[in-house]
Symmetry: C2
Subunit: 372 residues, 2 copies
């Protein structure tokens, strides 16, 4: 927070003054753009344009790393509730793909108070576009990252998955060390962040995963990052599993359930919550709706909510988001929240199209991240 | 509240003193009892017993009127999450049917501070049994009614239906005059109370009812008690209805939905809620579960809750319940919350069995109320 106070006072160091005074932007930027919704590989193309000159209330940034997330694909398809921001890039009004990423400030206008050259930033909200080498935007389009030493890949992939996990563990139930949380999609990116943050906070997790041939290996991997228990969706409704979970939780059943799957097993999972439990849906990987017996609502008083980190960022103050970044990056620095599995994508038209296609089919090995 | 303060100080008037001093209970009480769960007409029987002598911390009450509610039947069948209280009535340990009703205090023990002879009371919680001429119980088994002049039938049927409507309108969203509420089961007892209380508070209601031959008559009846709009479940998902509802609510869609039906039309109803809406389920008349598309949870941020008035009474202070009674009885006194349709039931074994059977089949004309 010390830094924020510093920036707000708008003290300008000598080096900053010189940087402002003598910065002349003559940068040819490249961005992966689209002008119509459609299949990403058909509508996406690489576009080069001259970065507009710096003005008093804008900043110039260069991107360092930007992942390809499932929501990015949905947005290009026009199937996402947030629409991309149309921007004048050279002669054309275009949308830029990508919503997450980390960038470095390379120039700041005279009236910009909260950012300076060399700062690392993430996007203030979704829709701006992060698959680009550079951007010239309002200072308010970006949010400063805390100066905590963590690998670039962690910064580039922090605002969606780890922040979703962090908020869901924090905002719906007051949990105390030793309490249980139950979640499905335990090996998803958010699921793994949930396991690790829960572990760091002294919480226990019951993690539901789909049954598969190499189940033992997955169980080992999740236990290795801190999962208390790993079970399969097929076991979920069985009498045997009810007894086992009862033996784990005793008279303190989980009061928080996290669901990114939907369908029958998501209903079964809700039955394990205790009275007054909170059940949070943040995805629907099975593409099936959630079916709720009235007794869970009326007699067990379980409430069912949704969580969407983009909306959260939109309606909360930057200060709150900054405080979350500090917490999450501290966990990363301490090795309690590990780098996700990832593969590097070249920022080049055909490589990008191929990567987005892989993102749709789900056959990519880990998170695909564009390194600029 | 003046009366409560008076009682707590335990001033005892001369007439109270005489009443206590010279009260000798020699009362033969009758109760509709059961000792095993089962079909009500098979397990219920009329039982006579001598009312136990008054002790320092007990009161004697005589019942004035007790309705037959659906939950009473479920409880006798053993299909209700609250179990009846077993009581020694004469030589036998028995459960007494009925959960709602109004009684008059006829004697109070020396250490009872908050009740006096002549007070009218309702039950503090479910499970005690109200199909009985008299009861000898702890003062804490009963709750004082405010001294507001309303017909007996209103007092006897207030704690379940009007109180459910009152709490649901009050506890889930801050509503302002002119705001819309949408509910199904609009002509149920709770539904009618919702219409009237909403009207009294300046709220608009969209009321969903099942389509039926004599629909016009029902629409007239509901509009007559204050319904803003009445529509049928069949119209609910149609394009035409979406346009009509949009024309009614403009840019202020309902933020509160009340559901006692479940199934497909309950899902359709949820789609009319605005962003951040709250959807409260208090029944499942269709016996179908509630199916929720993930988008309603995640992108519209609608939360789904249950409401159960018995649980509410159990976990809230008597003072809060008393304040609700004052509000509800004031509305009744002002004619803003009308007496439900009801038919009188004689407190006699065969008449009671027949009435409970009618309660199960749903063929009764209005609420059946035992008048003692």
């Amino acid at each position: 927070m010390g830094f924020l106070v510093y920036s707000l006072r708008q003290r300008v160091s000598v080096s900053q003054y010189i940087a402002r005074r003598y910065y002349t932007s003559d940068i040819t930027a490249k961005a992966m753009v689209y002008s119509d919704y459609g299949q990403p590989s058909q509508v996406l193309r690489m576009h080069s344009f001259k970065l507009p000159a710096l003005t008093a209330d804008t900043v110039h940034v260069k991107f360092l790393a930007s992942p390809i997330n499932p929501a990015d694909v949905n947005m290009i398809q026009g199937a996402y509730p947030i629409k991309p921001m149309m921007q004048k890039l050279g002669d054309s009004e275009l949308a830029v793909g990508g919503n997450e990423g980390v960038a470095e400030v390379i120039a700041v206008g005279d009236q910009v108070k909260n950012l300076k050259v060399g700062d690392q930033v993430v996007m203030a909200k979704s829709g701006y576009g992060t698959w680009r080498t550079h951007a010239a935007g309002l200072a308010s389009d970006f949010q400063l990252l805390p100066k905590i030493e963590v690998p670039l890949i962690q910064k580039a992939t922090m605002t969606v998955n780890p922040c979703t996990a962090y908020r869901m563990l924090k905002d719906f139930v007051k949990l105390n060390p030793g309490d249980y949380v139950i979640q499905n999609g335990g090996n998803s990116a958010v699921g793994q962040a949930v396991i690790q943050i829960a572990k760091a906070w002294g919480l226990n997790t019951i993690n539901v995963v789909r049954n598969r041939p190499e189940l033992d290996q997955l169980v080992n991997e999740l236990e290795e990052i801190g999962a208390t228990h790993v079970i399969t969706d097929e076991e979920l409704g069985s009498h045997e599993m009810r007894k086992r979970i009862k033996s784990w939780v005793g008279d303190k059943p989980p009061l928080l359930g996290l669901n990114c799957v939907g369908g029958k097993s998501a209903t079964e999972m809700a039955r394990y919550l205790g009275t007054n439990g909170q059940y949070v849906t943040y995805g629907a990987m099975s593409k099936s709706p959630l079916t709720l017996p009235a007794s869970l609502l009326i007699f067990k008083n379980i409430s069912f909510h949704g969580f969407w980190v983009s909306k959260w960022a939109e309606i909360h103050k930057p200060e709150e988001r900054y405080a979350m970044f500090e917490d999450v990056m501290e966990l990363m620095k301490q090795g309690k929240l590990r780098e996700p599995k990832w593969t590097k994508v070249e920022f080049e038209q055909e490589a990008m199209k191929k990567a987005v296609d892989l993102g749709i089919s789900g056959f990519s090995k880990g998170k695909q991240v564009v390194m600029f």
